[in-house]
């Protein structure tokens, strides 16, 4: 009996790291430091209360970021947040603009995913889809995603080439 194994993604970004939760204890420590140095008198209850408050709120934020700003590329699908498109729908990857060039028109195209625009800290990659639409994929490591997408498209066009056709 063989078990179906999920294919290793060609590219993956988690969207946000759980290390953000360390900001809770760090802010509590900062508060304690301020209390001691400002002569307010160190009391543990306020920093402890805010540690729970800050960590709890950050946990909500990180969980949301991991859902809505994560990226995954497999052989068949490109997932950006909660939106998934078939890789076979991508017909072209627009080249990156040269420094000094005017912003290309795909920069104003809709960003994939459910956020309004390309998320902060990410760079857009212009994609032309089969139905003629232009959209923006995005990633923190946009160069790596671009290379992975380009390789995938080249591989797909080689597979679709009729046998015996000159390369």
């Amino acid at each position: 009996m063989t078990e179906a194994v999920a294919p290793e993604p060609l590219f993956y970004e988690a969207g946000a790291t759980w290390y953000w939760l360390l900001a809770g204890p760090i802010s509590a420590a900062a508060m304690l430091y301020i209390e001691v140095n400002a002569g307010i008198g160190a009391r543990l209850l306020p920093p402890a209360f805010f540690l729970v408050l800050v960590s709890g709120f950050l946990a909500i934020q990180v969980k949301a970021a991991r859902t809505h700003t994560s990226v995954e590329l497999t052989h068949d699908k490109l997932r950006q947040g909660a939106e998934t498109i078939d890789v076979c729908n991508i017909v072209r990857i627009f080249p990156e603009p040269e420094p000094g060039d005017a912003p290309p028109s795909w920069r104003s195209a809709r960003a994939l995913g459910e956020l309004a625009g390309v998320p902060r800290g990410r760079t857009g990659i212009g994609l032309k889809l089969a139905e003629g639409r232009t959209v923006q994929a995005w990633a923190r490591k946009d160069e790596k995603l671009r290379v992975a997408l380009t390789d995938l498209l080249e591989q797909r066009s080689a597979e679709n080439r009729p046998p015996g056709a000159a390369s």
Binding site: M31, N37, V54, A64, A65, T67, A82, R120
Partner: protein
């Protein structure tokens, strides 16, 4: 407050910085609460994205907006009590400010979930914390506390 212990300028700076931050946070929170609507988000997001994901994003934005507004109200109230020389409220306002700075920066970096107004509130919050923890401010709060003890 007695004239024997006049309120130093640094405490006034802290108070008005907190009030500016409170105003920015309240306006930003209320604006985001009223302007971000589930129907509009559902309409702009691709149809292939499940409703549950759009709903969870909407609820995250709504939560951030409510936290901003409540934080602004709390800082405004606490700052008023701090201005009167109350050491406990001074501690609370500083704690709220530190927590607020962390939360606002996280919400901005992680999901871009706050408006520019709320991000701008970080500056007066930091100014207020620095001003309220200066030595001259501490001396005034100590004197105010001992004055009220003696009453």
């Amino acid at each position: 407050m007695t004239s024997a212990n006049p309120r130093p300028r640094i405490v006034e700076v802290a108070f008005w910085s907190w009030m500016a931050a409170a105003a920015l946070l309240i306006v930003a929170g209320v604006l985001e609460m009223t302007m971000v609507k589930y129907g509009d988000m559902r309409h702009t997001v691709a149809a292939s994205v499940p409703d549950s994901d759009v709903r969870s994003l909407f609820e995250t934005y709504r939560t951030v907006a409510i936290v901003c507004a409540v934080l602004g109200l709390a800082i405004g109230y606490f700052a008023g009590r701090t201005r009167g020389g109350n050491k406990r409220f001074r501690r609370g306002t500083i704690a709220l400010s530190v927590a607020g700075v962390v939360l606002l920066l996280a919400a901005t970096v992680l999901l871009n979930a706050v408006t520019l107004l709320a991000v701008l509130a970080v500056i007066p919050l930091l100014v207020a914390v620095v001003a309220a923890t200066r030595e001259s401010a501490s001396e005034w709060f100590d004197a105010a506390a001992s004055g009220s003890d003696g009453d």
